[in-house]
Symmetry: C2
Subunit: 330 residues, 2 copies
């Protein structure tokens, strides 16, 4: 199996490439060739024993999509995107990368007769827009309230139409908010959801800008990689014409996150969280979804963690080299 990852320099792309490199497999199937692409040159997966390649390219630029599919990879993981804040601030760039880039990929695939790769498309909870029911079902309408969400929803529709036509075999994955993200805080409004756990676990102070009763939808980086691995080899026939699904995850309030931290790391860790209410952040987060009914993805075999304790345990294992609780999803 030949696998190409677009957006391979991002957090999930790196972790996926690393896992394929180490195991030589994706979900139990051997990977013979691994190609990593991003706008900056991704790290070459040097552990990988098969044919490997890594290069910098912008999918939205003329000819790049044709280059990506020239060797007809069996699985294309399309994670390349301009993120929410940037797509809102730079409308032209967001549409160019997120919409035109995706369409260029699909059209480049269509140009190869008899070629029908598995295409795994990274979508987002941003395809949904308030008002929400308490638990968002699989057939909830897509009413994005950002340009990023609009672009992702349009990409989902393209993926469905190109799959229906037999040009490709698409699986669209709406990722939960990934927690605990390794590394440093960033300027995303969602940054604190990881920060209030990651910083205390590393003995550092963290700022909490919202109230304890703010609820959101989470999964670990390991679960995120697991979705993609599952999507790479799953039977797509039961999906029919609707290729995109919200992924399973854990619904939790900030208060529940903090109690899970206390369970794992004690009161001294919790004491490192400093409450500094920020009405601007609170207002953004108030428009975000809180809970999902992901029956469809679960039925299709996608899995995530079952508790926030598990999510924290995975961070300790994967990022801090500590063995913690058992039962973490893989």
């Amino acid at each position: 199996m030949r696998v190409t990852i677009l957006g391979a320099a991002g957090m999930i792309g790196r972790k996926l490439a690393e896992r394929i490199a180490i195991t030589g497999q994706i979900n139990g199937q051997n990977v013979d060739a691994l190609t990593l692409v991003d706008v900056v040159t991704p790290d070459v997966a040097t552990d990988f024993k098969g044919t490997r390649d890594a290069y910098a390219a912008d999918l939205a630029e003329a000819g790049v999509a044709a280059q990506v599919v020239a060797d007809q990879p069996d699985v294309i993981v399309h994670l390349a995107a301009v993120v929410s804040g940037e797509a809102e601030a730079d409308m032209e760039k967001g549409y160019r990368v997120n919409l035109d880039g995706t369409r260029a990929l699909l059209e480049a695939i269509a140009a190869h007769d008899g070629y029908c790769p598995r295409v795994i498309y990274a979508s987002s909870l941003a395809v949904f827009g308030a008002p929400f029911p308490a638990k968002i079902p699989d057939d909830f309408h897509l009413t994005p309230l950002t340009s990023y969400g609009t672009q992702k929803a349009m990409g989902e529709m393209l993926l469905n139409d190109y799959s229906r036509r037999g040009i490709l075999d698409g699986v669209g994955i709406r990722f939960p908010t990934i927690c605990i993200r390794p590394g440093k805080p960033n300027k995303a409004a969602s940054s604190f959801f990881s920060g209030i756990l990651r910083e205390p676990l590393n003995g550092q102070e963290a700022i909490l800008p919202v109230a304890d009763d703010v609820r959101h939808w989470f999964a670990s980086p390991r679960a995120a990689v697991g979705y993609i691995e599952h999507a790479a080899t799953m039977d797509t026939a039961p999906l029919g014409a609707q290729r995109c699904m919200t992924m399973p995850g854990v619904t939790a309030t900030v208060g529940e996150q903090i109690e899970a931290l206390r369970d794992v790391a004690g009161d001294e860790a919790v004491a490192l969280i400093r409450r500094a209410p920020d009405p601007a952040v609170a207002s953004i987060v108030a428009g975000w979804p809180r809970d999902f009914d992901t029956a469809r993805a679960l039925k299709m075999g996608f899995r995530a963690e079952k508790s926030f304790q598990e999510i924290i345990a995975i961070y300790l294992e994967d990022e801090m080299g500590r063995t913690a609780l058992t039962g973490a999803a893989t």
Copy 2:
């Protein structure tokens, strides 16, 4: 008010232009300039007393959208599209005209600082895909099962995003199946819905390829023009971020259509309908929606007929010069 109609050579475009030309108004507001555009040169609305222009152009070609918005019309009615069957048969053409053409228009508008026209976008019931509830509500998810429906749904999302950003003031209209279409039968699978009424009213035989219990959603050409007129001048503030609505219409079975024909034109007209079941047509139509709850559009002031008798009466008045029943919607 300056009005530009894209797709002005089509049935609805011609009727709208004619009405504006005769009244000099759109929904009671004076129209000073009327520009008609289509891929073939539309008839110049010679009755129109204001500034008039008509030219042939393809919105998807470079520079055309810029030309369309160069004089900053106050209202742009965007009816230009490749229809369902053609968009399915010619994928490249469908995406080029229906998606790229629409996007080119929106981007050309965005290029004018401080310009925010009312854009009326013709969408379609094809944005919905089976399985359906008995009555499709306003918040039903968009799961198109054709490339045409995909392109129209993507156009709706663009209209919402560009409206949210204040670049334009969009209203998306999902037209019912228009009945009775004047003129000759065409190759559309829906052609018989008009044909079984129009041909008998003109003393000619009509073929009915489906069973009498097939149900669908209809409005007259006059109601279609009425939607656009209303959309041109309505207060869009209550629409919020969701600019697109299914238009009110009449749900009717083929059997109910036939009984309405009997009411208006008697048994001799009904006797001209010849049943010739066509499984291919029956199969296509089986995937179409049957009934809608259009509470939102009704609340926003959109109106259609209340019965099939009214729909037939409008055909007699508007196409055959006969006065028939009263109470037809305008």
